[in-house]
Symmetry: C2
Amino acid sequence: MATLDLGTDLLSLTRALCDLPSVSGDERAIADAVQDALTGYAHLEVLRDGDAVVARTHTGRPSRVVIAGHLDTVPIADNLPTRLIGEGALAELWGRGTVDMKAGVAVQLALAAELTEPTHDVTWVFYDHEEVAADLNGLGRLVRNHPDWVVGDFAVLCEPTNGGLEGGCNGTLRAEVRLAGVAAHSARAWMGRNAIHAAGEVLRRLEAYTPAEVEVDGLVYRESLNAVLISGGTAANVIPDACVVTVNYRFAPSASVEQATEHVRELFDGFDVVLTDAAPGARPGLDDPAAQDFARAVLGVTGGVLAAKYGWTDVARFSELGVPAVNFGPGDPLLAHKDDERCPVGQITLAHAALRAWLTS
Amino acid sequence: MATLDLGTDLLSLTRALCDLPSVSGDERAIADAVQDALTGYAHLEVLRDGDAVVARTHTGRPSRVVIAGHLDTVPIADNLPTRLIGEGALAELWGRGTVDMKAGVAVQLALAAELTEPTHDVTWVFYDHEEVAADLNGLGRLVRNHPDWVVGDFAVLCEPTNGGLEGGCNGTLRAEVRLAGVAAHSARAWMGRNAIHAAGEVLRRLEAYTPAEVEVDGLVYRESLNAVLISGGTAANVIPDACVVTVNYRFAPSASVEQATEHVRELFDGFDVVLTDAAPGARPGLDDPAAQDFARAVLGVTGGVLAAKYGWTDVARFSELGVPAVNFGPGDPLLAHKDDERCPVGQITLAHAALRAWLTS
């Protein structure tokens, strides 16, 4: 079994985590190593569900915070083992997982080991299956199987934010715009009605659409509405009688799924619109005093900014439990999933210092 | 082995052919029956290549005509065995193959048996694999393997024409219009460029396109240009970086494949257009004296009209050999391949009488 030394320096710990591959569905080895490493600390109660590991303090503080990160990564793209490029303040750690999100996990593990008496009781959560279909998500499974393991007054997800603070997240929905026509042999096209040509109007409306920017609790959420898939036709000699345009609407957390669906229906008025998938956004929750304390403490150290999170993230799962939650972690989110994924070493150190400052002040 | 009685009445012969299923690829039994039936006639030389059967007279006439039909059908749609509905002049034979094209084959077989001394030497061709990919086509195979079996001064394909005469055929080409974009996570759509949205302009041009009607040798060919397939996108959370629209252009036989390709390129100026498949059309050839004789003889009997053939048919194979060729046969071509495929019995009788008049006068 791989072993992790939580007392080593942050860079070495991050590399050890990255160099232990854990593509979604294959997190057993890293979960075993994390569980084993944490079990050595007397101030932590260590729990396990599938390949998720939870470690929590019981110091009797009046408040409890949840600090969570996922152990899995997207598939490796010939970018492991990690490589350290550059020196000193410019050094960057290259490789799969450095940004999304094993640098964040390293910060969590180091602090879990070190902070025997944090100023809030802390529940450290390490979970599986974040990078795949939502119904497999390990945090979702914990919420279902052991809701008591993940409750708290405030939650932090250590997803990459460049050391800034990202609050809430956009909601997302997918809908199919279904066009119907009349099939005919293409040698006698005038006997049919072309469903693909009918999709031209759908694409025209998408092209003309101006996505909104919506302010929610002081943060600006940038929306988008795009065709992500299109498919039509049955054979190269048949006038197509069906075409489906799948659109993805990313909407500000001030709108409900119902309101967002209605917006899409209005845009495609006159067309057959079928909702196929939706998840609500999460308001940033930065009006909550715990969140404000957190923001002051960590941004004071990193000098990062407060911004809206665009992508749907697991903060929405906390939001549904009524727990205010934010994203805060090392690494540039734009480099997540990229072949040239890499994280400045300085950001890992700074994120560690910032969380440490918050949990010790 | 199934047996065919070529001396029976036309309706019974048509039914016997239809009730012997021969979906493309499964023509062995019907080819065996046709070969066996023709072999009984001393005035015919019978040849075989795969599941194609050729029977020809050698009476020493100065001219030879080729009269061809295919033995295969599209898949059965619960429409066999045949049913006779209605009586007398209104009777119709319902079922797979009645139109496309076993009524025509029945007319061929009856005349092949009966006409021991036709006014032109006749090569009767019965071939396989017409309803599937062009490279499997039995007539094409005969042209490659035994060109001497299919040469003549004039050719008739007994495809359904409602008893009229259809000359030549449109050419056909397929091209892909390929749109490129830049992939991005759909939560940050503004980082990418949507290739599906770009297809909107392609569909807009198709929608605005007015197909031409082109007169060739006195017949009017109706063209068409349609999107037949569209496909784009890789996943429901990714801004698509590629979209392909497959268009099918059916063009009048006065244009070459090169000219037709250029027309498509001009229409989609500014886009990446890749030709994937093309077949030239065939001019009607009705300026040929043999064709004019034929038209006078058969239309005098059926009262049918002379018209352009829109779909690409095997007459183009004769055209490429320099043999003028036309379509003439019983049945409404619009009912070919339909579940309710059916042929008026009167048309079968009339087609037989018309070809008989031509070959005996």
